[in-house]
Amino acid sequence: MKAESIPTRNGFGDEIAQLGHENEDIVVVDVDIGKSCRTDKFRAELPEQYLNVGIAEQNAAGVAAGLATCGKIPFVVTYAVFGALRMAEMIRQEICYPELNVKIACSHGGLTPANDGASHQSIEDMGVLRTLPNMTVIMPADYNATRKLVREAAEFDGPIYLRFTRDGIPQIYNEDVEFEIGKAHQIQDGSDIAIVANGDTVHLAIDAAEELKNKGLSARVLDMHTIKPIDEEAIKDIINNIGKIITVEDHNILNGLGSAVSEIIAEEGKGKLKRIGVQDQFGQSAPYERLLEMNGITVDNIVETALNFEN
């Protein structure tokens, strides 16, 4: 049964408003795309905790750092490509180096700003921020996961990058599901192969596992919502008990989830990996599903990769 599709930015918007009511130290720092990032409810209901610094992302990062030194819990809200790349050095210098309690909460992750074209599609963000010391990098897989992980992030003391989708993605979890930062969420167990995905590709992994079951292959499916710190135990468990891993991500094939997993495999000296993701190429204006297809980020390709996975 396919539930309705909801963009995960909506989950952020709903949860941040609730968190703001619960804790007056939570501050939203917008950069003129609040409406699009779903902070409009927060803005309307909590004007005393709301800042909009205009189209000035670098400054937004610094303002947030200053707020955090005074006990505030700022969420800088923008699109992933700007939040990770335009602000990268400010995040490094003023947020990660002093280890301040600032959250960078970004909509429009991966290829989800599809019609906007390559300028707005964010395929490098998690990789760039993954290399910053003290940074935690998270992409939730649906609306309910987003609400839970945004709440976890607000309660966590330190810099976090959160990445959401612009476009709707299918719902996977019910409201009671719990998540822990840095701990993979196992959706189903399996013994022949493991599919490790995050964000908007988790539902593809679930569908692929279902098809593989019909073809006689048992697949473990992990939602690796936190790619840094990555859940090494979960990956090592696959390496030791299953051996074959397919990673699936809406991010450049370089330096994202697949790279993080391959680092563990390389150091362990065992396990086999196939990476599915953006093929180190810029996108274009096109339907979101078409962009995924152009990069092989599809249920069919996951299934085919699993069936052709050499022993």
């Binding site: 610094g62 750092a65 002093p98």
Partner: protein
């Protein structure tokens, strides 16, 4: 506000300059030029104007002091050590492995540093965030941010200036350290700034232009600003001399980021010592 005379503050500034030269010489690394141009207003803030408690560096009601031009931290370290934020001997560890005194200030290592800086253009935005938090939390502290004239070429400075204006941050005071020199040459040659006072005025700031080495003018400007909580952020446009106080360093670009050798060190310290003796004599005669 501490009870200290202008003449005593001038003497204190000379003492701070000596500590700057001494620590950069011992480190054989650091930035003397800008540390000396910023010496007088930094001394005025730490030894008279600011409401701070060296025993309690994280006191939430304290005034904040940010070197957006973080490379001139030797002058801030000199002030912090003298006030007792950490033992004076630490000054000898500047830029050495394991030191609390990093080449650029680190808030997690050094008590009294309100934000880590070093990458130009970023400290002002952080100061804006602290000033906004002060307004949100109904605190009456002030936030002082030292910005270099070369640094004002960074776009983020002007993004932050916009934000200071929008949020009516009359608790924010910029010291614009206009020493007219940057690494590759004069500001006129590298990237002419024009009239930075007019620029900040256009961004909605109250601006006072003064001689950044005239202690009385600095104190008067601070008093004017403290008495004018009118919703406008403040800027002290301080005309300064890079290397001020050491004759052979004054207005010489090369002293931006170079340590003196032994001969230069002795010459610099002798000049500053003579100045200090003069100031002490004047202060003694006035008691």
């Amino acid at each position: 506000m501490k009870d200290i005379s202008t003449k005593e503050l001038e003497q204190k500034a000379t003492e701070m300059r000596m500590k700057v030269i001494d620590m950069i010489y011992k480190a054989q690394s650091g930035h003397p030029g800008g540390s000396l141009s910023a010496a007088d207003f930094t001394t005025a803030c730490y030894f008279k104007d600011m409401n701070i408690d060296p025993e309690n560096p994280d006191w939430e009601d304290r005034d904040r002091f940010i070197l957006s031009k973080g490379h001139v931290c030797p002058i801030q370290y000199a002030c912090l050590a003298t006030l007792g934020y950490f033992p004076e001997e630490e000054l000898d560890s500047l830029r050495k492995e394991g030191s609390i005194l990093q080449g650029h200030p680190s808030m997690n290592r050094c008590p009294g540093i309100d934000i880590s800086t070093g990458s130009l253009g970023q400290g002002l935005a952080c100061g804006v965030g602290m000033a906004i938090a002060g307004k949100m939390n109904h605190k009456d502290y002030n936030v002082y941010v030292v910005v270099g004239d070369g640094e004002a070429q960074e776009g983020e400075i002007w993004e932050a200036a916009n934000t200071a204006h929008k949020y009516e941050l009359d608790n924010l005071i910029i010291f614009l350290d206009a020493n007219n020199l940057q690494v590759d040459g004069t500001t006129d040659e590298i990237m002419p700034n024009g009239d930075l006072g007019e620029k900040f005025r256009a961004f909605g700031f109250d601006v006072i232009e003064l001689d950044g080495h005239n202690m009385q003018e600095i104190l008067d400007a601070l008093e004017v600003f403290h008495n004018n909580k009118n919703g406008k952020p403040k800027c002290i446009y301080a005309h300064t001399t890079k290397g001020k106080g050491v004759s052979f360093m004054e207005d010489v670009c090369a002293w931006h980021g170079m340590a003196p050798n032994e001969e230069e060190y002795k010459k610099a310290m002798k000049e500053l010592q003579e100045k200090l003796e003069e100031q002490k004599a004047v202060n003694r005669s006035e008691i």
